[in-house]
């Protein structure tokens, strides 16, 4: 069509200017710029979420009211949850690293629908603004928790409409990203790159995209019904009008459990890229990892009921969901075994991304194994809705996704910005962050088993000591975060120039200059018979 404009192949995407100033970003359909736009907007929102988290921990440093009362605490944990779940961890790896790397890793010049890709970012921003509007305007910040459970979500007098609509809109952005990725992977792989020669990060994005596509609409319609319920009183989830609030929980978790895999699958995919590079070895069990990715995506679709064991579901449903939940543990464990086996007899080079990847495995194991406690019927009754649950999902969602995210950003940093960061500070940041993380969330396992409920701004005197440790941990972790971010931001501007392939990686992104040119490849690479993603 409009191919008259010649796109230079020797200018990096960061230097290439088509428009003036900021329009180079917000009008760009370059997947790499869009990925970075997601990164920058997400980081901004992330700091809001972190600040709210710190506020909660500060409130819990002592029993009784410390800095806020109960209603404010409810609002804070709601907004913290909505921001962190819908705006950070769900789009996190797919939208940032997926956008940036998927086309390069499969040898394409862009995603299949670049304009749609840009549109997804705008929809994302719109959703984020709607949620923020619900905080700034109207009568009272939403206080339902991020789950918007019926019937409270249409009885609460707070300003819920924009928040729920915002979550609905964010879902749309997620769907379009997923759609784009599936078509890209189906149609745009480099010649000769068969399905079983595709690297594991794109594979994980493929599994993720299917979940985004098939699960998100269900929560979309559910949230829409809550909006209609609030506005017109249609009665679908209102017990006073014959509705069943538990059905809301079913529909909500039909999406929101698979959403956990939207978060964790690409995280696992990034780990599967980092480990072979830093052990300089072919990944162990390439096909097993693909199989487990698809199995997790598939089985993960049918386990949603484990969030509802105490809601009054039928016994049959409870057993079934419990068994299915245990099944998901198998493919997850397969991945862990494969990562460890890849390290065995490899020439491990202890660099920052490897530290993050290794600690990811450790943190993810704690999170995963504590998940079994919650997936088993008898033990779940005991710790349901306690701090134990909060600890568990922060180990998975923040530990799993966060550690992988930071690993990924340290791994691909030289590729993205064409510069190197300061390794010493990066390692220090990792160490401080990890110590803080463990100090923050580990005490919550104990607190939950002692019976401290979640979502209260107050607690009994007997829980005091562990809560102090947890709050101190939150400070240490934030300190670590500050070190990491300052180091990266500074290095993106002033770091020493990075080579094309500083880690001796074998996937395609390391065959293009750092930072990559606008259309990634001067010549589309061709995969031969013997080529593969991890040939060391």
């Amino acid at each position: 069509m409009q191919t008259a404009t010649q796109i230079p192949t020797d200018v990096s995407f960061l230097e290439y200017r088509k428009y003036k100033g900021i329009f180079n970003w917000i009008l760009s359909t370059d997947h790499k710029r869009i990925g970075l736009m997601y990164l920058y907007s997400m980081m901004t929102l992330f700091f809001v979420g972190v600040a709210l988290g710190l506020a909660m921990k500060l409130e819990l440093i002592a029993p009784g009211k410390t800095i806020m009362d109960a209603q404010d605490y409810n609002a804070v944990f709601t907004v913290h949850g909505v921001i962190m779940i819908f705006m950070i961890v769900i789009p996190g790896l797919p939208a940032v690293f997926g956008n940036f790397l998927l086309p390069i890793m499969i040898g394409a010049k862009d995603v299949a629908f670049p304009k749609l890709n840009l549109l997804s970012w705008y929809i994302y921003i719109l959703g984020a603004l709607l949620v923020i509007a619900s905080v700034l305007f109207g009568n009272g910040t939403p206080d339902t928790g991020w789950t918007f459970y019926a019937p409270y979500s249409f009885k609460s007098g707070t300003n819920l409409l924009p928040a729920i609509f915002g979550a609905f809109v964010l879902g749309f952005s997620s769907i379009l990203t997923g759609l784009n990725f599936i078509v890209t992977i189906h149609r745009m792989r480099a010649p000769g790159m068969t399905w079983l020669k595709m690297p594991l990060f794109p594979w994980s994005l493929y599994g993720t995209a299917w979940i985004q596509l098939l699960a998100t609409p269900v929560v979309g319609i559910t949230l829409l019904l809550i909006i209609l319920e609030r506005v017109f009183g249609i009665g679908v989830f209102d017990p006073a009008l014959g509705g069943d609030p538990i059905l809301y929980q079913h529909l909500f978790w039909i999406y929101s459990h698979p959403a956990v895999y939207v978060m964790i699958l690409p995280a696992m995919g990034a780990i599967s890229e980092i480990i072979p590079t830093f052990t300089q070895k072919h990944i162990f069990g390439y096909k097993a990892i693909i199989g487990s990715t698809l199995a997790i995506a598939f089985v993960g679709y049918f386990v949603w009921g484990h969030h509802m064991f105490t809601s009054g579901m039928s016994g049959t449903a409870q057993y079934t969901f419990s068994i299915l939940t245990f099944l998901v543990a198998i493919p997850s464990a397969i991945k862990v075994f494969n990562w460890i086996s890849t390290m065995y007899k490899g020439s491990i080079s202890l660099q920052t991304p490897f530290y993050w990847a290794a600690s990811f495995i450790f943190i993810f194991m704690i999170g995963g194994l504590s998940g079994l406690v919650l997936g088993a019927l008898a033990t779940d009754i005991y710790v349901h809705d306690t701090a134990f649950v909060v600890a568990h999902f922060h180990f998975i969602v923040f530990g799993g996704v966060g550690f992988s995210f930071f690993g990924a950003i340290h791994y691909w940093f030289p590729k993205i910005w064409g510069r190197m960061y300061d390794t010493k500070w990066a390692n220090t940041g990792w160490l401080v962050f990890s110590i803080g993380f463990l100090a923050l969330y580990s005490p919550m396992f104990y607190l939950g088993m002692q019976g401290m409920p979640r979502r209260y701004y107050d607690y009994l005197e007997e829980f005091h000591a562990a809560n102090i440790l947890s709050t101190l941990g939150s400070w240490v972790m934030t300190f670590g975060l500050v070190i990491i971010v300052i180091n990266l931001v500074r290095s993106a501007k002033h770091g020493p120039k990075a080579e094309m392939n500083p880690w001796n990686g074998k996937t395609l992104e390391w065959t293009v200059p750092s930072p990559p040119p606008v259309e990634n490849f001067e010549e589309i690479p061709v995969y031969g018979e013997k080529d593969g993603p991890y040939e060391y």
Binding site: I254, Y301, F302, S314, T316
Partner: protein, 94 residues
């Protein structure tokens, strides 16, 4: 890659499919007017599924598309069915 052959469906195929769909509609109206108790719902749903199958295969060209398209559609419908069945494990046994 872009030179995939496209099958041109003759107009009369569409007319036959439409006639079949209309006949099925009338059958389903007729069936639900007879009292078959529990079987009414099943009958109406089976007829609707047959109609959907016709629309998917002919109007939506699945018959002429590559097999993986059919696999995807089948997969999505299967996932949806499984979700309904699992939801009913709760409601049916409550």
């Amino acid at each position: 890659m872009s030179n995939e052959k496209h099958h041109i469906v003759p107009y009369r195929t569409y007319i036959f499919v439409l006639l079949a769909l209309i006949v099925l509609t009338f059958i389903s109206i007729a069936i639900t007017h007879i009292e078959l108790a529990d079987y009414t719902v099943a009958g109406a749903l089976i007829l609707a599924s047959v109609k959907t199958f016709l629309v998917l295969t002919f109007f939506m060209h699945l018959k002429f598309d590559k097999p993986y398209m059919r696999i995807m559609v089948g997969f999505v419908l299967a996932v949806f069915l499984a979700v309904i069945i699992i939801t009913f494990l709760d409601y049916y046994y409550r």
